[in-house]
């Protein structure tokens, strides 16, 4: 073999294009490679490359009563090409504490998992358990505990603050409006921040009654929730993760009809999106081109329910959730029926199809080396 010397910067370039599994293996190559692959600057570069290959993570339980579930990350373009046939699901066991876990959110390759814990001895004593999990490197963080009363009522969210480069877990009580934030990798304590602006949240309860919990949109450095004020007016509460303060945004002006189906928020192409049913015939997605600027709402997509490969019954009140858009804008992935089905909609041809696997959730995902400690 040609023994030609390759300088370190060039090796780094090549390595930044490798998938995580290969890089985990190459940590055994020699000491400097092990250091390089674990270096935060390299992890950042790798993440930048990896973000160009969008994945969709689909979750399913091993069995109904199991505490373990598996996650299948699919390269989006593979999902698009693989229209038929079964998708093999790699099994990533999460077996800690025998708590039933759900996915709060996904950011830079990390999943935030949540479980509600009830100790058998102290019946009233409850806590919420969180873990940060990187399925690509197969590492799990230590558990993060949040003690509270009636912990099932608390809402949870997960986001990343670019300014301090920290991952944050946010919990809030929809009755007392108390909000607490955990900075992962910081001083590892829960900190109370400014309370949630006092507005009614029946929206949240309606969604919860349909099995949707913790619906929020993580857009750039903010977490956004859709709430309803008096006089049935919808408002978006946006929490800025770096300043930990709130602002209120309004949905697009064209939207004023309250339909049977609740509107939702989504994040597509790094923008906040507002999605709603129109007349029981169409699903409309608006995009806020410039975050925070009311006038920048544009109608991005109008999908006729007839073009979707599902029997969409507005009386069921289940919203459709846009999950992600392919790089070239051709394909939109939507979750339906509490995320149990993923629908792939071709924006150019206006047709949709679905894989018939039974999943219970799906989120946009990017493969990364980000550390869980």
């Amino acid at each position: 073999m040609l023994r030609e010397f390759i300088p370190d910067e060039l090796i780094t370039e090549v390595l930044s294009f490798l998938p995580v599994k290969s890089l985990m293996r190459l940590k055994c190559l020699n000491k400097s490679w092990k250091t390089l692959i674990s270096d935060p600057a390299f992890i950042k570069l790798h993440l930048k490359r990896s973000a160009r290959n969008k994945h969709l993570a689909l979750f399913s339980r091993i069995q109904q009563t199991s505490y373990n579930f598996r996650v299948a990350p699919f390269r989006l373009h593979c999902l698009l090409e693989n229209t038929s046939g079964t998708i093999t699901v790699p099994y990533f066991p999460i077996n800690k504490d025998r708590v039933s876990l759900n996915v709060v959110g996904s950011c830079n390759g990390l999943f935030c998992l949540v479980g509600y814990y009830h100790t058998p001895t102290y019946i009233n004593y409850k806590k919420i358990l969180f873990y940060l999990w990187n399925p690509a490197t197969r590492t799990l963080s230590n558990k993060i505990k949040f003690y509270c009363e009636n912990c099932f009522k608390w809402r949870v969210a997960f986001g990343y603050d670019n300014s301090t480069e920290t991952y944050k877990i946010v919990v809030f009580n929809p009755e007392s409006y108390e909000v607490s934030v955990f900075n992962f990798g910081g001083n590892n304590i829960w900190k109370n921040i400014q309370s949630f602006p006092v507005v009614l949240l029946p929206l949240d309860r309606v969604l919860a009654s349909h099995g949707y919990r913790d619906v929020y949109a993580h857009v750039n450095d903010s977490l956004n929730w859709l709430v309803i004020r008096e006089e049935s007016q919808f408002v978006i509460i946006s929490l800025d993760l770096s300043s930990e303060t709130y602002r209120q945004l309004l949905p697009p002006q064209g939207f004023d009809k309250v339909s049977l189906v609740l509107p939702t928020l989504a994040m597509l192409m790094d923008s906040l999106c507002f999605c709603h049913d129109f007349n029981g015939t169409n699903f409309i997605i608006w995009q806020m081109k410039e975050f925070g600027v009311q006038e920048s709402w544009i109608q991005f997509l109008k999908i006729s329910y007839q073009d979707l490969p599902i029997v969409y019954n507005v009386c069921s009140r289940l919203p459709l959730f846009p999950l992600c858009l392919s790089e070239n804008g051709d394909t939109l992935v939507l979750a339906w029926d509490r995320g149990k089905q993923a629908i792939l909609y071709n924006t150019a041809e206006k047709t949709g199809y679905t894989d018939n696997c039974k999943w219970y959730g799906s989120k946009e995902y990017v493969e990364s080396l980000v550390s869980t400690c």
Binding site: M1, E13, S16, F17, L18, K21, R25, L26, L29, N30
Partner: protein, 160 residues
Amino acid sequence: MAQEASSSTSSKTISLKTGDGEIFEIEASAAKQMKTVQRLIDDLGDDITIPLHNVFSKELPKIIEYYKKDITGEITKDFEAEFVKDLNDDEVKVLFLAANYLDANKLFEFLSQNIADRLESKSVEYVRKYFGVENDFTPEEESKLREERAWSFRGIKEDE
């Protein structure tokens, strides 16, 4: 640059001389994509033959072929696949180093991805040889590391 001036330079060709003395022609607009070449043109003028000491007659035609397609906007996934199809791992490495020397960013990134694709399922030993790097772990250290991430070794042919 004014439209008239750029249309006159786009039809102009630059002469490049490889390290082993061969001369190749390239359109000025393609040469512009290779920052090292453009710097030499800026220093030496575009009328003389530009010397490229570290690039040889085996690689340069291939690089010129890539940029010829680039200036007409014809680089597609199919073209790129075809471009590297018949190259072995060493030939790609030589091209990669040449692209780096020439500061030809687009080709360099494409080849980085291609080398990564080739190495994705190769053994650790193959990768060591490919980059010419030595193993400084003791056998005990290495086997412990391998054990810790045994899952990442599944499906990899160790003797390759």
